[in-house]
């Protein structure tokens, strides 16, 4: 007997006007599965997340979360957005951001019960953020902020974790740390992960399946099945070469240079403190 899928799309099509992003997409994501959504910009990666969050309607087809049609957001979904630095002076400490993940939906004053405070402390410890728990989030470095965000996203024990380029603007060291943290959490909580990224390399060792979107086409499979020269050449409709070198994947000749690690500027930890 198989476990019911966390997320299922059937015959899902999304088009804006006559521009079709994806057509007849069938996809089931199982509990604990790590799905990477790859492809160049403008192919509907972020739109897929918006569809899952009920903010974007499908042109046709159905999408279900935990066996029900998607609603506008859900408490059973954890969400890690792109790292964006909060405004200096924002009255919010790391622990408050995590607390939102625990009880941010409840009305009333932001007074947490003792049990909730303990839960927040545990989450902070589990993502290695205890030491800066009481610091204003805005004063934390990019890597620290993303750790706290991972904590926030898993604090409610979600069934599905949506990650929208969470590693962008982090240096290689912190990319690895944050992605390993996400991987460890999904294993511990059996949470399905849908991870949108333009660079698969930091998460290559964790990914169960890849959804590759390009040129109005898509391909689903394991990284070995999808990230091959023939497959991508067909999708891009132009000769593309996939090179594997020392555990990394580099795609040569794709129109948008997918897979070439394109942020070499190193975000120096602590420099902005």
């Amino acid at each position: 007997m198989t476990t019911p899928p966390v997320l299922s799309l059937r015959g899902a099509t999304l088009a804006f006007g006559d521009r079709q992003l994806w057509h007849n997409l069938n996809l089931e994501v199982r509990p604990g599965e790590f799905l990477a959504v790859l492809g160049p910009n403008g192919t509907g990666k972020t739109s897929l997340l918006k569809t899952i969050l009920g903010q974007q309607k499908l042109t046709s087809g159905t999408i279900e979360f935990l066996g029900e049609p998607v609603t506008r957001g859900s408490r059973r979904i954890g969400y890690i957005p792109q790292q964006k630095l909060l405004e200096q002076g924002t009255p919010l400490r790391a622990r408050d951001l995590v607390a939102f993940g625990v009880n941010g939906h409840r009305w009333g004053l932001p007074i947490s019960s003792r049990a909730e405070r303990r839960q927040v402390d545990e989450v902070l410890a589990s993502v290695g953020a205890s030491e800066y728990a009481n610091m204003p989030v805005a004063t934390l470095s990019g890597g620290e902020q993303q750790r706290v965000r991972v904590g926030q996203s898993i604090a409610g024990g979600p069934s599905l974790l949506l990650c929208d380029e969470p590693l962008i603007s982090l240096d290689l060291h912190h990319q690895r740390q944050v992605s390993e943290l996400i991987d460890a959490k999904r294993k511990a909580l059996n949470t399905a992960v849908v991870f949108v990224t333009h660079d698969v390399n930091p998460i290559l060792g964790m990914v169960d399946r890849v959804l590759y979107l390009a040129g109005g086409r898509f391909r689903i499979g394991t990284p070995d099945e999808v990230l091959r020269s023939e497959v991508l050449s067909y999708m891009y409709d132009t000769p593309v070469e996939v090179i594997r070198s020392r555990g990394r994947i580099v795609v040569l000749g794709s129109p948008e240079g997918y897979g070439v690690h394109d942020h070499l500027e190193h975000h120096v930890e602590g420099a902005e403190r």
């Binding site: 859900s74 969400y79 919010l92 009880n103 205890s130 610091m135 926030q152």
Partner: protein, 296 residues
Amino acid sequence: MNSDLWNQIFGFANYGELLVLVKNSIIAGALLGVVGGLIGPFVMTRDLAFAVHGISELSFAGASAALLFGANVIVGSIGGSMLAALLIGVLGARARERNSIIAVLMPFGLGLGILLLALYTGRSANKFGLLTGQIVSVDNPQLLVLVVISVVVIAGLVVVWRPLSFASVDADVARAKGLPVTAISIAFMILLGLATAVSIQIVGALLVLSLLVTPAAAAMRVTASPLLTPLLSVAFAVTSVVGGILLALGGGLPISPYVTTISFIIYIVCRVIGARRGAGGISGRVVPASPEAIAR
């Protein structure tokens, strides 16, 4: 000459008798301090300082219309600010759109208000008071209206506090969690409109920011705690308004320069304290960050 000027700014003759006369104003002022202090941190985190200014100008137009047509000034004021708050809230979801909408509304409101006041032939102190504030003794029915509206705003804030904080600092995640972010935002604009309308009655349309923004901005310089920020902000706002009324009492000048000066001084002091303490705020790291600790 010099001492004349001094006495005009700070006069304390017959202070005790004057104090009795403005008892209502002091109560109203303290209440407005609480309202302004509580709503201020949200104005700051939602980047709505400019919106407050825009709302207050339309509120001024509404109050001027009420004055001209002999209606209740507070009601006119609320009408104007509700209209502005909803327009800004509905049309200006994104910061850039919002700023242009406010920039369009604000001079229109101010111009309309000036026109209406020019047509008004009553007491001129009434006119000036709408713009720069007044300590005209608040009468009992007026005080009742102010109290009721203030209580509505405070109660409204208490109800939406947590989701409002969440949506204010982290709208994308709040929306993903299923929070009605848009509805919360509209609800907040209504509360802000009400708060602006009542603040105008004391500090005037031009200087509402000193009550709704400056105290919160000062508090946020010295703390990042979501609990301490509103408490300090309230303390600063109440000090500014009540202190302003008490100082303005003897001089016969408008109340607003006193209020704005006190709140400005508090802000400067907080800035200095914040700068001396460094970016870490009141609570810092438990352990000084070392490369090993980060790598862990």
